[in-house]
Symmetry: C2
Subunit: 321 residues, 2 copies
Amino acid sequence: MRLISLEDIKKIIPGIDLFPIIKEGFVAYSSGNAVVPPVGEMTFDNPQGDVHIKYGYIKDDKYFVVKIASGFYGDSDKGIIPTQGGMMLLFDKSTGKELAALVDECYLTNIRTAVAGGICAEILAPEKINCIGVIGTGVQARMQVLFLSEIIECRKLKVWGRNKKNLSKYKNDISMKGWDVEIVNSTDDIAESCNLIITATPSKVALLKLDKIKPGTHITALGSDSIGKQELEPEILDRADLIIADSISQCIERGEIAHALKNKLIGIDDIIELGEVIHSNKDFRCRNNQVTVADLTGVAVQDIQIAKAVYKAYKELKNEI
Amino acid sequence: MRLISLEDIKKIIPGIDLFPIIKEGFVAYSSGNAVVPPVGEMTFDNPQGDVHIKYGYIKDDKYFVVKIASGFYGDSDKGIIPTQGGMMLLFDKSTGKELAALVDECYLTNIRTAVAGGICAEILAPEKINCIGVIGTGVQARMQVLFLSEIIECRKLKVWGRNKKNLSKYKNDISMKGWDVEIVNSTDDIAESCNLIITATPSKVALLKLDKIKPGTHITALGSDSIGKQELEPEILDRADLIIADSISQCIERGEIAHALKNKLIGIDDIIELGEVIHSNKDFRCRNNQVTVADLTGVAVQDIQIAKAVYKAYKELKNEI
């Protein structure tokens, strides 16, 4: 079995054209060409954290993949910093033989999540973006912006978060990458002035309210990957002209959609799967008076696609093809 | 992260006193001191195989464990040999940090399953064993006997299997270990002459019939770990004076108990969990006119316990304590 270190993975990633492979994964998933069992999950209380196990295979592939990704939130009062961990495992689908352990410490999960956000922005963001709103200051709040840079021209950004120190560090770091970053005191400020909003927190209460959302806004919500987490008032989904889920079966039990379904504000038929949107090639872009929401919970096909690509590139690097 | 090879694992295992640690695991599980989410599972058709993902933690432990174990059945007509694969992963429960990958290729799963069978025999086997019946010729059909050798004195064994070549090889190998092995043509022969029976096949149809089972027989059924697999006529469980499950929640959906429950031959209240039996210290031994059945589907606590023990021994071996 090959042990591929985070160091090697970080060298390999810039050489991979990520958008097409992640898109292919979503299309395979939504067209029934992937086997993705329900997400495995464990939560921890002391200290607080969660682990997700996502696994599956694409039917005509040679591999199956098991991904373990953990996030421990830390406790800034006690000086405990948040940590992420995990790995992606690649196996031969005809023998079960273990081929590689990509010890990515959650890095590839972060990348494939940011790419999914990028794909949503590419397809759904309004044509003219006034300002980007970011809720959260963690890894995804940063990576999403990094991947947006490749897709959109706007460099104006408002950010909201709970922790002043983290906000200040966020502003500093993202400004260095050529963004005009403003820290705001309330999520209402973001809703009122941004027409592309990304929510990337582990919140368990709604942070964005419907009455502040402007027509013509696209929201990508990606923080709520576990049951119970929530970032949007479910009424936003009721108002939305378009609701996109990365996985309908997952969003039934987790994510923003789960809350809106539970409150009977929307029905299953109101949801379109991201793979279907990509495959259809129709224009779904958010218009002047529309509100669109993409709810990302993270699907194993993303892990499968990125793990395969890294493994292939690693073998090429070592001249083992 | 430490990568512990199968070679190292095989060196370490003989130095570990396995029965007490696996018993402790079952007791922790049955007394609610372990967190064990539902089993993750994928099945494959071409070639036929399955993968189980078992994971969890014991509440006051430092670790959580994720185990991946696969079995591909092979195709003797096409000369494809059966294969097993997988690994056990150990993580720090307070940070998610990956500590070790035990690349056991299913070896530790086989060991901990054989130990569970040994524990059942130790507690439930009749006092005087006439002959041991083994259904199947695979890895477990061998390992169970190996671990029984340490517990019981009887060395008379009857074996049944589908494949003549495998039967002949089984007889040869087990005879070399001091057993008197007889190949039989039907499972009825086993039922009629053995009072300790082990079923260890991936069968999807019942192989042992009630009307042939003699009073005073204990059966340990461990082949049916996936939904749909079956080795015993469910009527055997109806007749049984004692039904033991390694995990009641797992046996509701898989194993022999699932079939008997589905057919309404038994109820949940008729089942006792192995950890409870171990903890109670009562005498549950199979008596003259009794029939007892232990249904083993494999529980993550077994994986957690063996992975921890190997990791600890490995660190001692490398003087890293």
